[in-house]
Amino acid sequence: MKSVPVFDVLVIGAGVVGAAIARELSRYKLSIAVLEKEEEPAFGVSKSNSGIIHPGTQNPAGSLKGRLCLEGNILIREISRELGLDFKEAGELIVAFTQDEIQRLLTIKSEAETLGVPGLKIVDMAWLRENEPNLNPEAIAALYAPSAGVISPYRLVYALCENALKNGAEFYTQTKVENIIFTKPGFEIQTSKGMFKARYVINAAGLYADETSAMVGINDFRIAPRKGQEFILDNKKENLTNHLIFPLPSKVSKGILVIKTADGNPMIGPTAEEVEDKEDFSTTEEGLKKVFEGARKLVPSISQDDIIAYFSGLRPASGDDFIIRYEDKAPGFINVAGIQSPGLTAAPAIAKMVCGILREKGLQLEKKEDFICEREKPIHLFNISLSETEKLIKQDAGYGDIVCRCEMVSAKEVQDAITAGARTMDGIKFRTRAQSGRCHGSFCTTRLMKILSEKTKTPLTAITKSGKGSEIVKGERVSL
């Protein structure tokens, strides 16, 4: 029988949390495996969220998520620089419409200041008129948090994965963890792609973290999905708002927001709905209604005609806070569960915390001298000037071969995305934006399929949207 290697650390899940942990661990002399059930990383919760790097406001004082959010907000800046990501520090405004609401703003402000959120101030009506002209004129004040920003959530995950891979971490996609056997010490991990062995297992399985945890007998928490529907508007409306606009938060969520994504599209949402099914990614008419009501309260000129896309995401919530702990009942197993919002923001801080736990529990963390902290910034024509584009086209004619008309994506960018790991149409979309504009891929789908087919030597009929079972076409044409 072939002997199975024993990894020092095995991470379940290649969402933002698993990816951040893998990248952080790859600084050290360790053997690392990341197992992901989907065809590509970032196909779980981490692909469908608001992409906000929260400043740390709106978290209960003393909460784990509050602390990690604040830390993550600082760490993300360095990560963006190192990994060539566009982090935009847009600043956030929590808007008040009544005197009572101003009182609540003051409470939020003082709680957040205790936590250490920097630069907070209350701005008045005149400031709002000047800086946010499309805001509802009935707004009388707002809490301004300058350190809030936006990032492309999936490109963050891809950057973390690519850098971890470069530093020796191994990624196994389409590899679903089915059972875990505690071998005292260490673990045998049974998957859809065979058996893995590891000394330490980190459970970052998002919505399924309760199920994977139960595999080692830890079943004292349950992940209760909370759905959020979001609506993306045409980037023609990119000047709708200048900041991330929030209403006052409710108990369960931050409310319906009006933001601008890192790629420049206005986005409104999310709803907060408790659902049973972990695969219920449907959007509904009620959701649409609720989101527009909420968004129009903040920015009245928002119109349904500007919708170009919508999606729903599920927050993997378990109680009110994150669950990040070493399981003494299954020594070597660390749960990183219940990573609801602000999980995207907190991920880099979670990764550092997990490393700390591992060190404390006896794993030797010895720094690699040859750790590569940087990643070359991928080129996106949509966010550079035409004169820069001109230079690139001279270097490589492929930049002049435009594939996606709405978002101006070239064949070269698509090829680079495939080289970096894209294997599906969604993978190409998340990396390049091709298919994410106003025509929704009507124009570029066939060309993208052909590039993907050629580069990966896959027949056109086997090209999928997001993995097996989602083939784009049903077969070849057979003339009758």
Binding site: F281, I308, M449, S470
Partner: protein, 325 residues
């Protein structure tokens, strides 16, 4: 930056007719840009007949109709054709930037005619709730997959909307051995031409649900079924009228929108509802020397009318250039 008398963007029937007409009206320095690798525009994928009945008094296929213009274009050496050339920027002084493999070019033109055609309205624009699996196509994309790429997008198809492209695709799918389970139209009447309703749907016995609306798309990886409801005259859902149809494919055929992002970028006044230029006269815009023709000026049912109006645009541009002296 080089200079040109006339630059035409888009070489579908509109752009080609405008180029020929401008030449015939005396313009001798014409550049025709087309982002695709061939001339003809959307006609290349319309392999059915029904084109040219008024313009040529003949019943032609789309490619045959286009070919009559392509032959002419190729015979006129003063019309410079640049394929795989994608116009990306336009100013209110008719400075146009385009990209092609290996080059980015900037041109100052005396006049510009935009003949960029139309794009299809999407599922998102009509807010169809549900999931977003594989198997949802715009009708035009399905047409391209079958007619140009030789692929079969699906086997059990429901068509949303009764625009001409959707109707034509109903017949196309049936001829390819697929099953078309329904055409669903929210209005009381078909949006498409009567001849297409008869020849593409009724003749094949496809269930045609007028005053019905799709309420939800189901399916995780691939479309599995759709929910359909009946609507009253105010287009409101009729209670308890919901039923489901199993299918693996949903085609969206809910109309076309003129593609006018470039003239909008240049600052021309645009009607937000129709995405067409607002101007005093046909084929003109609020910017002097900037003309629009074909489906980007307004959605025409018949290509014959596209050709006719585009000839007018070519003539207008020639007049304008002559006026500059």
């Amino acid at each position: 930056m080089c200079e040109k008398d006339l630059v035409i963007v888009g070489a579908g029937p509109a752009g080609m007719a405008a180029a020929i007409s401008a030449y015939e009206s005396g313009v001798r320095d014409i550049l025709l840009l087309e982002r695709d690798q061939y001339l003809g525009g959307i006609l290349n994928q319309c392999i059915h007949t029904g084109f040219g009945l008024t313009y040529f008094k003949e019943n032609l296929t789309g490619p045959e109709y286009a070919h009559r213009f392509i032959k002419k274009i190729n015979a006129i050496k003063e019309i410079e054709v640049s394929l795989k050339s994608f116009a990306v920027h336009l100013t209110n002084e008719n400075v146009l930037t385009y990209i092609k493999p290996g080059a980015l070019e900037k041109i100052k033109a005396k006049a510009v005619i935009m003949a960029t055609g139309a794009r299809e309205r999407t599922r998102e624009m009509v807010h169809i709730p549900g999931t977003r699996p594989a198997g949802i196509f715009s009708a035009g994309l399905a047409q391209k997959l079958i007619n140009i790429e030789g692929l079969l997008p699906g086997r059990e198809v429901v068509i949303i909307g009764s625009g001409d492209i959707g109707l034509i695709m109903a017949r196309r799918f049936i001829l390819e051995g697929a099953k078309v389970k329904a055409v669903i139209e929210i209005q009381k009447q078909s949006r498409g031409l009567t001849r297409n309703v008869v020849q593409c749907v009724e003749d094949f016995g496809v269930p045609f649900y007028l005053s019905h609306r799709i309420a939800k798309i189901h399916g995780k990886n691939r479309v599995e079924k759709v929910d359909v409801v009946r609507v009253d005259e105010h287009l409101h859902e009729v209670a308890d009228s919901m039923f489901s149809i199993e299918c693996d494919t949903v085609l969206i055929s809910v109309g076309l929108i003129p593609e006018n992002e470039l003239i909008e970028m240049a600052g021309a006044v645009i009607d937000k509802k129709t995405n067409t230029p607002v101007a005093q006269e046909i084929n003109k815009t609020s910017i002097p020397g900037l003309f629009v023709c074909g489906n980007s000026f307004k959605i025409y049912d018949l290509v014959d009318s596209v050709s006719k109006d585009s000839i007018h645009a070519g003539y207008q541009a020639a007049e304008y250039i002559r006026g500059l002296g």
